[in-house]
Subunit: 425 residues, 4 copies
């Protein structure tokens, strides 16, 4: 292990931390305080919580002489770690006018300075030991970068005048994507989970074998046009298409379109981080719940993929990626590129929209969470949620991989979640 | 009507508007955005709504060439006037990060400039006609000044570290107030409602006669010591003291002390606008619901006064006033001054704490609300609420009078509401 | 005090108790168990609770050697008397399959036999003392007779096929009642409350004076035709007609007609105790909330009467009564008889429909509830409710009087509640 | 196919239908009407719904000249089949005092007579085609037999005096069962799903292969003693043992023991179908949610089995069964028999308590539900539920098999659900 790697860790740390702040450049302290539902956290809270993570899991125990910024922050900015102690109730994060945004920014600077000392080049041997935790912290901060986008989108969507978070975002004219092609897989006994090299979350392993029967995946994400056909054909009024829990939700919540769609007199519009816009027919449909994805698949004569099917295909056949959350912020999906061929035919497997799988979020065989509070990161959420794969237009570039497992409850709609069809062959 | 009165109207307008802004001097834009329950409005919303009131009821129709500041504000800052049109849902006022505080302050300045034109001296004849509406606007803004204090108190109380809104507030040592004296009244046929001269709300009239049987009022407000005795004697665990609805509320909400009281290991403390403080035994108890006031009166072998009893007494026997919300902001009640004698023996009839009466908030005989949207000011709330009298330590000096009727639902506790005992004689 | 009076007390007791049972003749044990909302009690529970009342307030302390029927019943059938002890939660009365109806009937027989011993002729001196309590028990049982009708009506209305509780009920053709006349009163200082002689509840007194300004009352109840005009004119979609709380309720509950009205393709129908029937235009409208009564009055250019106005008028000008709950059970209102003249012009002041007044249910001057548990009968409900006057088609004949005060929360619609208009003159 | 098989189908039909009625012998019409929560159906509703199933899926289309008993019953007794039409809301099943129990019994007799005609010996060829549907009807009725027990247990448990549904049930003294032994399995590629021969539900197939890593199962169910140790060791107050959703539920519902356990002064007691009884330490613990089963396993240093692990073991190593719901009704689990040895060492794999697995209830590869309304039987519930295996003391003897999949939401506690530990080896 040489100095270069240490330099590189600090560089990487700085890049990730800077990216977090670049995402909030156009928002005011007031924007960053609002919480529109318990699932949503204020942007300011994300800025502080990611900082608390570094302080709690790295600095407190590993940087000699580290002075915590404020003893109160351990209560305010702990998200869900029972092992760390009591914490502020999630639905009341929007009550935290104090600390002010400016104090939170000071907290970030204080912590960044300490992290720079921790990651200094003369800390070689120590940091070799810490590297997994540092990698986790970086991935954690990238996850919250995406949550900041999903959450501020919800916040602005509930404002009566639906302001844009970011300039730009004009989807422009796209060549029609046409009908999806189907890419078939023989299945059989396949390898699933962590591949050698690089960081991964504990829930991506242990690597193991599973058995798949022959199946095919659509070579692109379902589009707004596809989904509009489902709506026009009575998708939201036909109970036989729906899971029982999904149909109950349709009725109790009055669902009749994806979360951010609104019908104007002449067309469907949707709220985006770039403001209110007409729905682009060829772009991927997003902000679907699992229930909607499942009903759409049923209506299409298809089904949702299993997560092992998806992962096996992603390893074999990755083609052109979709859009990630790029510098300058374009956080809205775009139409698929033209179809590929040969072994790289699966477009948009990564980026654009998280893809609901029909797999519940569960432990892989012989999975054990890490000891201590950091073990609460993933394991305790393994009930009542479904796995999504592939990342979205709100995901940091480079963040996801074939084994990456995202998870949300089946009724969640405020994530950038879409659907790729699968079928048995 | 001469120029002097016009000058005086503008002067008065300016003073009231300035006072509003002086109340928020120590608060940040973030503090002013938080909404902790549907009953609470963000401070920023109050700043804008009071401005909207001037724009809507005065400027729009009466100032030629008036340019509204923003057409959207009519939707955002209408409180409850169905006659004006659709409006933003009350529980979502805390979602309004936009307009920013700074834009709201611009809105205030824009409106103040227009009002200065409206109230200019050459507008004599017009303003004679408008004066009642202007007086209403001033009273309205003063009411919201008090609501700003009650609401920001709730907001800060829900912050885990209970910060102070204002410096000062040390109650210091007070001479013990001793047992209350009782001041008796013969009753009989008495006059109630508006007295000649000066502004009043429509709900204070028409003036009329009512019949009172002989009664007595305590010569001071109930104190924290009195109320602490009630608690220590099992007040919150003895159903026979409570109205049926009150007892149900005690159990469903888990009430065991006034809203802002917290038991430390050694003593009762209470949250105030000046931060967390020990409860001062001789100061008036505040933040009681009607149900608590009623149970306390029952325990005391007394009852709550009727609003006519209170008003008749206030006209006859006003003694030393309590505290109002003074410049420099001291918004917490203080112990009663020493007992008076003769016809001015009733201390604290005005100021310190609103006094719950046992009178429901109803229309006086032959009451009719004004025509148009302004008629929604008071009349449509005449169900399910009880009358409070006398003003509080959060009320603007000079705002209340003997005929003034405040009203809140019986479960409300976030107002500066206390209790004065009454009994039959 | 001679034997005759004692005989008469027992005779009266027997008649009231028999009447209770005659009301349930057509119902099965299953019908008598259902509870469709917390406000509704199962018929079987009423049968047992009225019996428990005699056992608890009369027999236990006054009949030597009385053996209680079952020690468990004190827990099951106490309605709301905290002074008696813990009790079964009201919303779970429908869970009480045991005791069976047959056991409850045995309980009634056991108690009736004991009451016959208590009321035997040789108990003279004791019963003179007990008479007020016995009168209270009789009035209590008659109140529950009405509640049994209101509650079983709700129970059957929630059955998908809306079965009839009783045969009969065909309203037949009625002569059109025409526009209401108005009967004026000078007001001034008038006497209110208990008149000499006969039983009364404590809340009807003490007798006292109040002052009324000149007013008029409609000489009949508002009819279904009147109310249909209100609906057709947009009554349920015009916020300016409504109290603020009422309008909130219209929207949250989706009210668009009286509780039991349903629109068929061609006409309004209503559920009655005699089954589903077309709405009779000339019969009084019933099953209105206070909010609906108030909005209808506003739309009519009138207002609701105050309870003192009503009582004063009832003493002066009682004309033809409406319908009470007669033998053979006809529990639906009928059209008013032709207008009277002279001092008896006020038709339907008694019977047909309880009349909402705009008076909140409060204590009269110097009112004190009785000592002990029986004091919980009325006093603890004196908040959040409005007074209704005059009795209804579900009230026992002879039960009401001019000073009688019924009371329900303003949102209650399942009582036989209607409206008589009033106005200032 | 000969006459014998037909006779046998009718015999089987009659036996199942008779068993249903034998289960309600000790209950009154009132007991059979109560609904204590939306999940619970009244016994009478089960009696009618099972009958409706025969009428709807067999008689209506297959018995010439069949006269339906009542056209209204199709609305009242359809459980959840959207393909059949509108239906009565589930939470209001307890409102159905009509039809009476006696009419429902007539409905059963009417339907049984028609089924006897359908299953007569001269219907050979037709019934060969119908046999799968008849088998489904029989299994369906047996499932409702178990639900009748779980539901009436809940109903009686909510009665304040906790009456017994059935006599008997004294667990008596049992030999201590001792610590569980562990039975290991190599795993590898194993066969899962329907075995040849006999009836099965569609969700048990298609048969397929899956891969298991080496694991062990406890050779008996967890006992009340085991679970009592978990409680005594702070199981319900230690968040690190719980899934996140489970811990939230512990706090929101106040869970501190299994559903029917109550702490007396000296011991744990539990409500059973045989009344209130002391908890038997050696009997299996029942009425656990998935969350509680999972936390208990974590505390035990083990985990829940996967459903494939369970099924593979059940095929290999079935030992002594536990208790099923026997004639004369004993519906409470009993202590395990002494340990076995060799290939039949797994005690209580069947009977006593349903065993929570950590497998979500999902479609097996290539699963497709049947066409038509009957396809709604299982498939539409494949979200948000977990699989339980093995049957319980409330299950009909002969009802379950190794491939049988029961399923309930993770918070459900009113089923006879327990836990068998598993671990990796």
């Amino acid at each position: 292990m040489d100095d270069m790697r240490q330099v590189s860790l600090l560089t990487r740390y700085t890049a990730v931390r800077d990216r977090t702040q670049s995402l909030v450049a156009g928002l005011s302290a007031e924007d960053m305080l609002v919480q529109t539902m318990p699932d949503v956290s204020p942007t300011k809270w994300h800025l502080a919580h990611t900082t608390w993570f570094w302080e709690t899991f790295l600095l407190r125990e590993n940087l000699e002489g580290y002075q915590e910024f404020s003893p109160e922050f351990n209560y305010l900015f702990n998200s869900y770690y029972d092992g760390i102690g009591e914490r502020h109730p999630r639905p009341e994060r929007g009550f935290l006018s104090r600390p002010s945004l400016s104090e939170v920014m000071d907290y970030r600077a204080h912590t960044d300075a300490a992290m720079a000392r921790l990651l200094a080049v003369d800390q070689d041997s120590k940091n070799a030991r810490l590297e997994p935790l540092i990698q986790l912290g970086l991935a954690h901060e990238e996850q919250h970068q995406e949550l900041m986008l999903t959450d501020i989108k919800h916040v602005l969507s509930r404002h009566p005048f639906a302001p844009a978070a970011y300039a730009g975002g004009d989807a422009g004219e796209a060549a029609p994507v046409g009908e999806p092609g189907w890419v078939g897989f023989d299945g059989g006994e396949v390898a699933i989970g962590i591949e050698a090299g690089g960081f991964h979350f504990d829930n991506e392993g242990p690597p193991h074998k599973t058995i798949l029967t022959p199946y095919a995946l659509a070579d692109r994400l379902a589009t707004n046009r596809d989904y509009g056909d489902f709506i026009a054909d009575g998708g939201y009024t036909t109970p036989s298409l729906w899971l029982s829990d999904g149909w109950a939700r349709v009725r109790s919540e009055g669902w009749s379109a994806p979360l951010y769609w609104r019908r104007s007199e002449t067309r469907w519009e949707e709220f985006t981080l770039h403001g209110q816009q007409p729905v682009t027919p060829d772009a991927p449909v997003i902000h679907l719940s699992y229930y909607e994805a499942s009903a759409f698949a049923e209506w299409s004569g298809a089904r949702l993929p299993g997560e092992a099917e998806w992962e096996h295909a992603a390893r074999k056949c990755r083609g052109a990626d979709g859009r990630f959350a790029q510098a300058g912020i374009s956080a809205h999906p775009s139409a698929a590129s033209p179809p590929g061929s040969g072994p790289t035919r699966l477009r948009q497997m990564f980026g654009d929209a998280w893809e609901w799988t029909r797999s519940d979020y569960c432990a892989y065989p012989r999975y054990r969470p890490a000891a201590g509070a950091v073990g609460e990161y993933n394991g305790k959420f393994m009930s009542g949620q479904y796995v999504l794969r592939g990342g979205s237009c709100a995901t940091a570039p480079g963040h996801v991989r074939a084994s990456y497992r995202n998870f949300f409850p089946p009724e969640a709609r405020w994530q950038f979640s879409g659907v790729r069809l699968a079928r048995d062959i």
